[in-house]
Every structure is written in C-alpha cells, then in structure tokens.
C-alpha cells in the first residue's frame, strides 16, 4: 500500500522488524484516512440528517489492515520477491496439464455431456450449469470480437438484449416456435451489429469502447421507455419453452396432445425440461466454439487476427478494414442474439434489468480474465465468475463486492489472464521445440 519496495529490505540478517512495522504503520495510516468517515459514520436513510457513529468499525478496519500488511511484508520478506508475484508453479502445472490436452479435453467434454444424467444432478445443479453455459457461449461470442478481431466492445449486452426481445416478440406476436425464431433473432442481432458498427468502426480502440458502451445504455433506455412494444420495465412474461420435436414439457397436456413424459412412458418430472434446456445451450455453445475455431483457419479469420496485430500493415496488403471489422462485429452480435433467445426461453420472462452494463462487464471480464483469445480460458473464467457468486449466496450482500475485488486481484496477479499463452493460428516454418505449453487454443 505504500511505495516501499520490500524486496531489498531483507537482504542480510533475517527479518528487519523496524522496516516491517514502519510499512504496516503507513498502510494503517492510509486505512485510517480512507475509513474514518465512511466506516465511522452511518447516514440515516432519507432526509432528516440523523447520524450514527461507529468508531469500532474504524478501529477494526485499521487494525486488520495493519496486521494484514505486516503479515504480507513478513511473508514476502522470507522468500524471493519474484516468486511471490509471478507464481511459476501455476504455469508449471498448466504446462504439465497441457501435455495431455486431448485426453483432458475428451474427459471434460464427456463430463459436461453426461452431467445432467448423473444421479447427483438435482434441479439447482442443472440450472447452474445452464447459467454457466450461457456465459461460456457469450464469452466465446465476444471472444470473436475482442480476442480475434481486437475490437473492444463494452456494449455486448445490447445484442444479447436485442436477441432476447426479438425472440420474445416474434414468438408472441407471430406465434413462431423457438426453432424458427432462433435464426431470426440471431439475424436481427447481427443486423443491429452491422448497423451500429458501420459508422463507428473507423474509431480506434478506446473510442470504440465508449461508443459501444453508450450504445448498450441506449438500447436499455429504449427498452425501458418504449412500453407499447417492450412492456417497459415490467418486461414481457409468458414466453413458451421450446418443444422436443413437438412434444411439450407439461404435466397436463391439452386434449389430443402427447406430452414428453407420456411419449416416452416415464413419470413426469420438472427436471426433464431443465435437462433439455441444458442440452440446447450446450449445443449452441459448442456451435459457437466450432465456428470460431474454424474461422481462425479461414481467410476471414486470418484477416481478423492480422488486423488486430497491425492495422496499417494489413491495410497496405489490401485488406478492407471496415469490411473485416464489420464481419467480426456482426458475427459476434449474432451469437449474442442466439444466447439472448435462449436466455428468454429459459427465464420465461424478460425485462430490461437483465441487460445492464454489469452484464457487459461480466462477459468482457470472462474473456479477458480467461486470457484473451483462449477458448478454454473462457470456460475457466466463466466458472470462477458465475459459480463463485452463486455458491456465496450466504454472503449475498458481499457477493458483488467480492466479485469486483476478484476482478482486480486476478488482473493484478495475472494481467494477461488465467491461461495467458495462446498458440498462433498460422505459423511459418516448423514449430519451435517446447513452444506448445500453456493452454490449448
């Protein structure tokens, strides 16, 4: 917390208590300034000007910072500074794991595929797995835009919202089935992507980020205020669940109709529907994955990566940057549209509060924390970011606090993401020995 570099303080004869105490004292002083008013005084709700003083909170906060900083200083002091920060054991473990990449991949896929059929799988578990899958799919979709094409998109949730609302409105007003709406919703989202992208893709990195962020907010505000179409902030309810080749998931089918459990002559269970939804999102997510993996080998995918690495060089080689970026933007938006449709049908209702900036931030965090462009990284980051808050339901109030803190901590710890290494899509000449370490592509 202070500017003291601890590394060189412990050169010779053991621990220097004076330096540690001074360092921890400085940290405690800063903590005192930070906490004095916000911890020490609680404003009463509403007007009235009531106050509640709680000096003990300040004392506890300052004392714990003092103790914590002192402990960290001791811990860093007793080992080499480099090893504390870079954590080479993590990289070593990754390298060892990636030697058995195919085996691991197959095992993981098998586990994911049979997960809902296992006897331990209850409703909550299948539901959680579905939720994680949605974010994995969104992460893979955004990875096309951010990881492959290098366009920073902070408003990805706008396309997710467009997909969800397109699906819902089509399904309700035109009575179309999920399977008919899904491609339509994707197409509409892609169209939105192209329409937004066309004017703004000439902008450089951070400008693009802020414009997409603004666009995400605009979509949300329009959804809230255009009540005739979108139902305003209440949203739309009563979205139908997809059918299994025409068989509905219902305990009481209408006359002359066969429900899923009757057709297969099994007792009705609510979990059937959840398992069916899980497999839909699994297939959708895998499609996204296969698509982007194939894209990397195709000319368009190579153009994305070339443009990300060096725009000027690619332009001088005859690439049309606007067209190339636009395709990435549109395709990324399309997958968000698919995910949005699925989200709407899973929830059964939608309203604008599901499509706030926080969602965009979570999706981008999944891509970046996982290691940009790494497909496996997206899975890991989605599991960490979605499962941890869900498992920490007991500390519901601290959930988002921990979430924000974890984002900062992971970035400081591994700025390039959990699985930082990326295998190049195309290589000239033979592969250098030992190059294939880190995560699979």
């Amino acid at each position: 917390m202070t500017t003291v570099d601890l590394g060189d303080r412990f050169g010779g004869d053991g621990v220097q208590w004076g330096a540690i105490l001074k360092d921890a004292g400085m940290a405690a002083l800063v903590a005192l300034v930070l906490t004095l008013l916000l911890f020490g005084v609680r404003l009463s709700d509403g007007g009235g000007g009531g106050l509640q003083f709680r000096p003990w909170w300040v004392v506890i906060a300052v004392a714990s910072v003092f103790a914590g900083r002192g402990a960290v200083a001791l811990w860093i002091g007793t080992r080499k500074p480099a090893s504390a920060a870079a954590l080479p054991w993590f990289d070593r473990a990754l390298a060892r794991l990636s030697q058995h990449k195919r085996l691991l991949f197959a095992g993981f896929f098998l586990a994911v595929a049979i997960l809902p059929l296992l006897p331990v799988a209850d409703r909550r578990m299948v539901d959680l797995a579905t939720l994680v899958m949605i974010y994995v799919m969104l992460g893979w979709g955004l990875n096309i835009v951010v990881g492959l094409a290098g366009l920073l998109d902070l408003g990805y949730v706008a396309f997710y919202a467009v997909g969800a609302y397109s699906y819902t409105l089509l399904a309700i007003h035109f009575d179309l089935s999920f399977w008919a709406c899904l491609p339509l919703a994707g197409a509409i989202a892609a169209l939105f992507g192209v329409l937004l992208g066309f004017p703004v893709l000439r902008l450089r990195g951070d400008y693009l980020a802020i414009v997409t962020l603004g666009f995400g907010e605009m979509v949300r505000i329009i959804l809230i205020n255009w009540s005739d179409l979108t139902g305003g902030s209440e949203g739309i309810t009563g979205i139908a669940v997809p059918t299994f080749f025409g068989l509905r998931f219902t305990p009481t089918p209408a006359a002359g109709e066969t429900a899923f459990h009757q057709f297969f002559a099994i007792p009705f269970a609510g979990i059937h529907k959840l398992i069916f939804l899980y497999y839909i999102i699994l297939v959708l997510a895998l499609l996204t994955h296969l698509f982007s993996e194939r894209m990397r080998g195709l000319p368009l995918g190579r153009a994305w990566e070339a443009l990300r690495e060096d725009e000027i060089a690619s332009r001088s080689l005859g690439l049309n940057p606007v067209l190339v970026k636009l395709s990435a933007f549109g395709i990324g938006a399309m997958f968000a549209g698919f995910a949005g449709s699925f989200f709407a049908t899973r929830q059964g209702f939608i309203n604008p509060s599901s499509f706030t900036f926080i969602e965009s931030a979570i999706i981008l965090a999944i891509v970046v924390l996982g290691g940009m462009g790494s497909q496996v990284g997206v899975i890991c980051a989605a599991m960490v970011l979605i499962l941890l808050p869900e498992l920490a339901r007991d500390f519901a109030e601290f959930r988002m606090l921990l979430f924000g803190g974890a984002m900062v901590a992971i970035m400081v710890w591994r700025p390039r993401g959990l699985l930082a290494h990326r295998v190049p899509s195309v290589r000239l000449g033979p592969e250098p020995p030992g190059a294939r370490r880190g995560g699979p592509p």
């Binding site: 917390m1 500017t3 800063v30 300034v33 930070l34 008013l37 916000l38 911890f39 005084v41 609680r42 404003l43 009463s44 709700d45 509403g46 007007g47 000007g49 009531g50 106050l51 951010v146 920073l152 004017p199 703004v200 000439r202 902008l203 990195g205 951070d206 400008y207 980020a209 802020i210 414009v211 603004g214 666009f215 907010e217 605009m218 505000i221 329009i222 809230i224 205020n225 900036f357 926080i358 931030a361 981008l364 965090a365 970046v368 924390l369 940009m372 109030e397 601290f398 988002m400 606090l401 979430f403 924000g404 803190g405 974890a406 984002m407 900062v408 970035m411 400081v412 700025p415 390039r416």
Partner: protein
Amino acid sequence: MEYFLQQLINGLTLGAVYGLIAIGYTMVYGIIGMINFAHGEIYMIGSFIALICFTILGLTGVASVPLAILVVLVVTVLFTAAYGWAVERLAYRPLRGSFRLAPLISAIGMAIFLQNYVQLLQGARVKAMAPMVTGGFVVTEKAGFQVTLSYMQITIMALTVVLMAGFSLVISRTALGRAQRACEQDQKMAALSGIDVDRTVSLTFLLGAGLAAVAGVMTTLHYGVIDFYIGFLVGLKAFTAAVLGGIGSLPGAMLGGILIGLVEAFWAAYFAAEYKDVAAFSILVLVLIFRPTGLMGRPEVEKV
C-alpha cells in the same frame, strides 16, 4: 424565450459539474492512456463524504453557511483524494506497462467494488439533505414565468471557472504541470530526465479525485439527493464529455461537459425527458464520426 433562458442556465450548471469530472478522465487518459472507469465512483464517494461532513457540521451548529461550505469542500477534497490515490496504487500501478485491456478490466472491477463498498457501509436507500443555500436572482419575468438564477447555480459556475483557471495555471506554469506534460508525451524519456513518473501519476489521480470531490459537494448541495449508484451514469456522461471535447485536452473537457449538460437540459425540456441520455450518447457518436479526435483534440499522426 424565458423558458429557453431557464434551460440554458440549468444546462450550464449541469455542464459545469460534468466538466469538473471530465477533467479527471481526460488527465488520466492523457498521462497513462487508460479509461479510469472508477472515476465516477470517486465522485460518488465524494458526494457521500460531503453529505457526512454537512450533517456533522449541522449537528455542531455552525451558523455561517459560506464557512460551512468552505470547510466541507476542503475536508471532502482531502478525503476523496485519498481514495483516488489508493485506487491508483492498488489497482492500476501494478498493471502499468501491461497490455492494454488489463487496467481497464481492473478499473471496471474497482468500480463494482467501490459501488458495493459504499452500499454496504451506508445502506442502499437514498440519502438526502435539506437545501442549505436557497434563493436567487430573478433574471427576467414575463407572463408569470420567472427565469431564476439561484445562488447555488452561481456558486457552481463561479467555482468551476475559478478551478479551471487555477488548473490551467498549474498545468502550464508549475513544475508538476511540466512533469505531467512530459509524462504524457513520453514516460521513458521523462523518467530519464529526472521526473518521478510514479509520483506524477499519483498526483494526477489526487488532483482528478479532488475535482470530482468538488463536483460531489456541489451536486449534493444543489440536488440534495444521493445514493450509491449515482456514480455510474454521471461518470459515463463525464467520460463522454471528455471524448467529445477531445481526450487529453483540458479546455476540451470543459467544453464537452457544457455541451453534454446543455444537450441534456434542452432535450429534457423540449423533447422527451426519458430519452435525454440517448440524446447525449447520440451526440457523441455523431461527433466521433465526423471528428474522430473530438472537438479540441489534436489530430493523431499515425506512424508506421
């Protein structure tokens, strides 16, 4: 006409606040090239500290209003600046020189953290205070419609002008300003010529947070209602203002802030109030399409 004049006054007041916050964005972006996403939350923390100070002063019974405001200003700026410093030290400095997206993600995480931190400490409900500065001038009056310029609005605008002037002086005349401009152009070279880059960046964050704190004090006084969520939208608009004016340019940030404030006020007055935020962002998109470097930004030369 009277209605127009009143909206102009309201828009200018709002714009002054956006401008003050936008300077924090533009300075940080200029010097280390990152969007300090947590800056809006720093403004929110400033508002809370200001409200706490006002309430404490109210309990001790300070009679003179200008004295109270002055004391609160100083205290709030100091305590909020500490937050600005700590955020940079914890979340951004370890990532300096790392790849482009890392500080941005860290900043987004910090923004989420700070929002929930204040929500946990102070509760999620709205906090309010009774207006301290009341009254104002009646500029014109016609057919029962008064155009008023309240004392509070005068204070906000005057304070903004004074701070802007002082700030321009700091940047153009002092050693700190010189160091900042040097770091903006080339950090490595600046370090070689004896400038402490870390210290300069820290001071930049302190100054930016201080200005956001002033904006927080002013909005708390003027509007009187705050909650833990106010930082996000205000921060977003202030950043829009900074981009609009040309990021890295101080007068540009002020100009952008005033433009955004005016657009919002007039749009809310003459069109649909619900869509005022949409209007502000649309202006941003339009400006960026036709002038990608913002209104007062220097055109960027691409080097190959």
